[in-house]
Amino acid sequence: MSMEEQPQQTPQPAAGDLAVPAAAAAAPPRRRGLIWTLVALYFASVAAAALILARPNKESASPRGMNKAAALLAAHKEAVGWVSVSGAIYQSESAGPWGHGSQAVVRRLKNLAERKEVKAIVLDINSPGGSVGAVQEIYAQIQRVRKEKNKPVVALFGDVAASGGYYLAAACNQIVAHPGTLTGSIGVIFHVTNIEGLFSKLGIKAEAIKSGKMKDIGSMTRPMTKEERELLQGLIDDAYAQFLKAVSEGRRIPEEALKPLADGRIFTGQQALAQKLVDELGDSERALEIAAKLGGITGKPMVIRDAESLSNLMQLLDGSFSGRILGEAALLGRMKDEWAFNGLEYRWRQ
């Protein structure tokens, strides 16, 4: 450091004000001016920084005062959020906050809705549906985004948006589908597999000791009784009524007019448009345009995807990883979803 110069003391108001005591005076006088100047400069810097940070920072928010990505964000003060619902919709197996499944979709919707710059959200659905609880969890969050945050949500259908996938779309302001999208399949399903014959061939006999006659309803080791079938049908009817109500309210179609379409049949996007089950045929660009328009954005909107980059890693570390890494299309994942789930499903079964 070349700080040895400055042999003489120049009049320093700052240093003069701070009556240097005897101890300080004992120090070599050649350096005193320098160190006090450095200290004064440092505290002047702190004061300047505090001043800059304390006032509204219009100038630094300009595109000139930031890097490219930040400038892009600032130039597009208004953005459209993008959330993808891909594959069968079930709750995550992980109890952690990083879990996939419906919890992740809800979390992403919530995060985007909280962001001031996000004026509307596109829900990109490519799903045959899933469990009733998981679908309704996302459905409720979409409604909350619309009602509490006043942010419109536009559904975009991919290859398939059937059953639970359609249930979600019913909560959205508008639905855009490709002409060849498979949609519809309004209905509920409950799968029971009976392996009694297989067990008897193997010489296995399963018995249940139960507190009530309905405790092992849906058991796969004995035939279903009439009473059980009636009870299960009651559940199905109730969940179906909920589905009908959601679609009827969301699409503003009277339930009576909807019922003939809601026997579980599937439609192409074009057929669905004719039945007023979707609003428009189009692609992702069109969905974005509609969302921007509903959100009051002028010009081309910026798209923000809430990707949760750490979520995959966290789930990996969680250990509940198994077939998920292969994706929903992988055999293991599919088998797991299709056969391991016990409960009501808003799901189209191929």
């Binding site: 101890a23 595109p63 890494i325």
Partner: protein, 196 residues
């Protein structure tokens, strides 16, 4: 006022007459002054970041400022413990408390960041590229001051002082590599399990 003046003289000595500063600190380690120096280092880093941050405001800088100050004090304490052990093992003789103070004074090297950030903001508005350079420069100054502090506090040679200061960083580097290798191994195991 006398106390402040004597602390500033200590900084002056630390910068320009290091052996004398080390001697003063060894005689009676001014722990509060050391703590204050760590906090100033943390404050400087946080303010420099905030000043250069696009759209940055003091409201958003508070948590970072607090964390930065705490980090500097915490890492200073940890570094003191490590360096004391290493310097001791290398044959040095000195007090950990005086090293804590000297390392705190070394942390004042980070104070260079703040005026540099302000200058950068004034002269090159919108450019963030000077910041890594400033950070590297201030970090190097701090590291050199630390090495000198270890040398003066323990009366060891410059080579041993370098070794003492760089050893914890080298150990951290090796540990990070080890952690990364373990994490990669874990991922591979999970993938193999998923496919089998």
């Amino acid at each position: 006022m006398t106390a402040i003046a004597s602390r500033i003289e200590l900084i002056e000595d630390f910068l320009l007459d290091a052996p004398r500063a080390a001697e003063d600190v060894r005689r009676q380690p001014p722990l509060l002054a050391g703590l204050g120096a760590y906090l100033l280092g943390g404050l400087s880093v946080a303010l420099a970041f905030a000043v250069l941050q696009p759209g940055g405001a003091l409201g958003g800088a508070w948590p970072f400022l607090t964390l930065s100050c705490l980090w500097h004090v915490f890492s200073g304490a940890v570094m003191t413990a490590l360096l004391h052990l290493i310097a001791d093992a290398l044959g040095g003789q000195g007090r950990a408390s005086s090293l804590f103070v000297l390392l705190g004074l070394s942390d004042l090297g980070w104070a260079l960041l703040l005026p540099a950030a302000l200058l950068s903001r004034a002269l090159l508005p919108g450019s963030l590229w000077p910041f890594p350079l400033m950070f590297l420069f201030a970090g190097t100054v701090t590291l050199l001051l630390r090495i000198r502090s270890v040398k003066d506090n323990y009366g060891i040679g410059l080579g041993r002082a370098w070794l003492a200061v760089l050893l914890p960083y080298a150990a951290l580097f090796v540990l990070s590599l080890l952690g990364l290798a373990l994490a990669t191994w874990g991922v591979v195991i999970q993938i193999v399990k998923a496919f089998s």
